[in-house]
Amino acid sequence: MSEQAGHTSYVKIWAILLVLLGVSIAGPTLEIQVVTVITAFGIALVKAYMVAKHFMHLNVQPRYVAYVICTCLTLMVVFWAGTAVDIYKQEGTNWAKLDVPAQSSTTH
């Protein structure tokens, strides 16, 4: 299926991935929040995209495969958005989480 992706090109992709890996490890050592987020997660996205495109050949699969994958990811975003208000927030409309230590000893 992937005649256009020759032997060398795979190795090239792999090399790029390793470079990105290096950056993602080096980035956080700067101890800057923004840099960490970008280098850690931004690069993770790039790496995942490259593996999916060039190694899994998502680019030469039928369109609907990509659509199915995107649907799955979208659903996870929906799930996250629907739950974040309750799970990630510490308080909301007429409710608040009790501070953990106070709660830790509440079994009858």
Binding site: N94, W95, A96, L98, V100, Q103, T106, T107, H108
Partner: protein, 230 residues
């Protein structure tokens, strides 16, 4: 329609009952119409000797309107219902009126603990009145309740108030009610909470101003439970 089975004793109980009646009217009309038409079709188009069904697929121009038409009406009804729902919900669960009294409601396996303010009318003071499975409130006063759970998920449900709120361990959830009639009624736990869920019953006693004051005096005198809970 509901009050014939159970009284509506909170300021918003009637709103909920009205909403339920409204829904009943709308969906009732739909249900009756649909079922009637359905059974009419069944009896009208029974198989007859030497008669064959018409070939109708819904793609005919004269049939087009029946493809989407009815469901547009459903959509309009939905909008109508949504507006009513959101208004009532916001009134009950989002915009709390300023409280006259604040109480604490604590669920645990398998009992309800109610902490009432004492004579000073303030919570978390020495004269708080702590009761188990018996909540005393005064009529015509806005109450805020702070709902907590000590172990598993419970649900604080006062059917006569049309009030229900789950108690989640690790959270304090605030709600409100304002009684508009006196008497003594059931409080149920409405979320399965283990072996004793079926016996996790409590009573709410709604008293007039005098009755309630009298109860406070009576129970302030040497309240053993209060001591136990401090």
């Amino acid at each position: 329609m509901i009050e014939s089975l159970i009284p509506a004793l909170s300021s918003y109980a009637r709103q909920i009952d009205f909403l339920i009646t409204e829904v009943t009217v709308i969906v009732g009309v739909w249900l009756v119409a649909a079922e009637a038409l359905f059974f009419y079709f069944i009896f009208k188009y029974r198989a007859r000797e030497g008669h064959r069904a018409d070939y109708i697929t819904g793609d005919e121009p004269r049939m087009r309107k029946w493809l989407i038409g009815p469901v547009l009406v459903v959509f309009v009804c939905d909008i109508f219902l949504i507006v009513g729902a959101l208004k009532t919900w916001s009134h009950i669960k989002i915009e709390l009126p300023p409280p006259a009294v604040v109480i604490k409601v604590i669920g645990q396996q398998w009992a309800w603990t109610f902490i009432h303010p004492g004579a000073d009318g303030r919570l978390d003071t020495a004269d708080d009145i702590v009761t188990v499975d018996e909540l005393h409130v005064e009529v015509d006063k806005v109450y805020h309740f702070q709902l907590e759970s000590r172990d598993v998920v419970h649900s604080f449900s006062v059917p006569v108030f049309r009030l229900k709120q789950d108690a989640i361990p690790g959270r304090t959830i605030t709600g409100w009610f304002k009684a508009i009639g006196t008497g003594s009624y059931d409080i149920q736990c409405a979320e399965i909470c283990g072996l004793g869920h079926g016996v996790m019953a409590a009573r709410i006693v709604i008293g007039s101003a005098e009755q309630h004051a009298a109860w406070i005096d009576a129970s302030s005198a040497g309240n053993t439970l209060t001591a136990m809970y401090e």
